[in-house]
């Protein structure tokens, strides 16, 4: 009897030992899975940890008017960009429901499909067919990948990777808008489409905390071209002595306009969204008391940087102008003679930044004219046509 019990115990302990051995065989596999999960989490957090919290503007849902079914007319949808497990995603809401109509969290990458980094820059809605309703979205993640997504009332359509500007040192933290550009025949290099969209982005250097302005010409042609890479952008940080004295040559202009875009370091942190006024980008930057960890909230020195939109060339005698302080919003001011000035407007006072603002002229690459604000409102006749009724 005792022998039987002992043999049963022996059998049970042997079975347990076999089970433990089986688990031990699986242990390396389990360890690999756990470690890779841990690495993914650490990677996601490290990508975010390198950016200070003040780099990010609060993400408010944005109302879009989208084409509905033919009988109902346009419908309102709310676009929200947020994160899901550290990866950037877009969500579309209707006005009457707290549940998202659609979510987009798988994005085409250069080789495959995967997750995006966080979206610090606000997605830019586009009306590609000028019917007054939004039908496309341009989204840029913090790593510098730019996607074009079709959008309709029911959700998101196909997405295309337009650019991959990933660089170890730069984080794309804000978008300064999409603009529609039309180049006159005289200034258009051969083979370049006359009209295109240009995306303005602000990127921050994770080592120094310095900002750079990026303009990217969005590829519009079909079939789809390869995504634009960082190296395809023209570095316009430094202006050569010849360009300062003699202006931009035709050849330089052709090279810059023909490239996928340009970028320029701003030697400071952008303190408010840059403004494009008559073909000139004005950016207010804080040039002291900032680093990669701290934002330039209490900066003592401020500049205004003015650059030609298409070439980042000189519009005035210099690119940078010193400000007394950086408080207030950049606004235009109409002078008594109809010309325009740029001011920093705060509640107490107005600080004159630049007088006699210029508008870029299509006569030559760096030609300008005086900007006259009394021309506004300006009327343009797009077309005149005759109604034909019956045969003539």
């Amino acid at each position: 009897m005792q022998t039987n019990r002992a043999s049963a115990q022996f059998k049970t302990s042997r079975k347990t030992a076999v089970q433990i051995q089986q688990w031990l065989k699986l242990a390396p596999l389990l360890a690999i899975v756990l470690l890779s999960l841990l690495a993914t989490v650490v990677f996601c957090f490290s990508a975010l940890a390198t950016t200070a919290t003040c780099w990010r503007a609060p993400a408010e849902p944005r109302m879009l008017e989208i084409k509905g079914s033919s009988s109902s007319g346009p419908v309102q949808r709310f676009l929200h960009h947020n994160e899901h497990d550290g990866a950037g995603q877009l969500q579309l809401y209707s006005a009457d429901s707290p549940l998202a109509l659609a979510s987009l969290y798988r994005w085409p990458l250069p080789d495959s499909t995967g997750v995006a980094a966080a979206f610090y820059a606000r997605p830019e809605p586009l009306d590609s067919d000028y019917d007054g309703l939004i039908d496309q979205l341009i989204s840029t993640d913090i790593a510098g990948r730019i996607w074009l997504t079709q959008v309709n009332a029911a959700g998101f359509g196909p997405t295309r990777l337009l650019a991959d500007l990933t660089q170890p040192d730069w984080r794309f933290i804000a978008s300064a808008g999409v603009i529609d550009v039309s180049l006159p025949l005289l200034l258009r290099p051969e083979g370049l489409a006359g009209r295109h969209h240009k995306l303005l982005l602000i990127a921050r250097n994770i080592a120094t905390g310095e900002d750079a302005l990026f303009t990217v010409r969005l590829p519009t042609h079909v079939p789809v071209s390869d995504p634009i890479e960082f190296d395809a952008l023209f570095d316009r940080t430094v202006l050569t002595e010849i360009e300062r004295e003699e202006g931009l040559s035709r050849e330089q202009w052709r090279n810059i306009v023909n490239s996928a875009g340009w970028w320029a370091r701003l030697s400071g942190q952008v303190t408010q969204p840059p403004k494009v006024v008559a073909g000139v980008i004005y950016s207010a930057v804080a040039t002291s008391d900032f680093s990669a960890e701290t934002c330039a909230d209490q900066s003592a020195e401020h500049d205004i940087v003015a650059m030609q939109l298409h070439s980042a060339g000189l519009v005035y005698s210099q690119r940078r102008f010193r400000l007394l302080n950086g408080e207030g919003q950049l606004k235009l001011q109409r002078q008594s003679d109809g010309t325009a000035a740029l001011v920093l407007d705060n509640t107490d006072e107005q600080q004159r930044v630049l007088e006699d603002l210029q508008v870029i002229s299509s006569a030559c690459p760096d030609c300008t004219e005086q900007l006259k604000l009394d021309e506004f409102p300006r009327w343009l006749k797009l077309a005149t046509y005759r109604h034909e009724t019956g045969a003539h």
């Binding site: 309703l133 808008g177 001011q333 109409r334 409102p377 300006r378 006749k381 077309a383 005149t384």
Partner: protein, 127 residues
């Protein structure tokens, strides 16, 4: 022989009378002049209608009520671009028609006009 001569003369006289009647009618109605001038009159009328239309385009741009304008989401592409937040574009379709005095001709023209306006609050006055 004499009978056939009489018939020939009668026919000739009849044709002569008919010719006189038709010529008199044509002369009185001035049909040939009218037909010759009609193309020219039509052209003049078209030109008059276009001039009227272009005048009204100029007048309209001076004084237009906001209700007639359609706001477009984006301004058309241009070289000296402005930010979307600074300039707003509105579209106006203006139609005029003209009816001739004798109500024989009618022509109408339409124009698409774009108004570019700086967004309120973005431009401060120097005073």
């Amino acid at each position: 022989m004499r009978q056939s001569g009489m018939a020939l003369i009668s026919a000739l006289i009849f044709l002569l009378i008919m010719l006189l009647i038709v010529s008199a009618n044509l002369f009185i109605s001035q049909m040939s002049i009218k037909s010759a001038q009609s193309a020219q009159r039509q052209l003049l009328f078209e030109q008059q209608a276009l001039a009227l239309h272009l005048n009204s385009v100029t007048d309209t741009t001076d004084d237009i009520s906001e209700t007639d304008l359609t706001v477009v989401s984006r301004c058309p592409a241009s070289y000296a671009v402005w930010s979307d937040t600074l300039v707003q574009c509105d579209l106006l379709t203006l139609a005029t028609s003209l009816l001739s005095d004798d109500s024989r001709f009618a022509t109408s023209y339409s124009s698409m006009l774009l108004r570019q306006k700086i967004v309120d609050g973005e431009v401060l006055s120097a005073d």
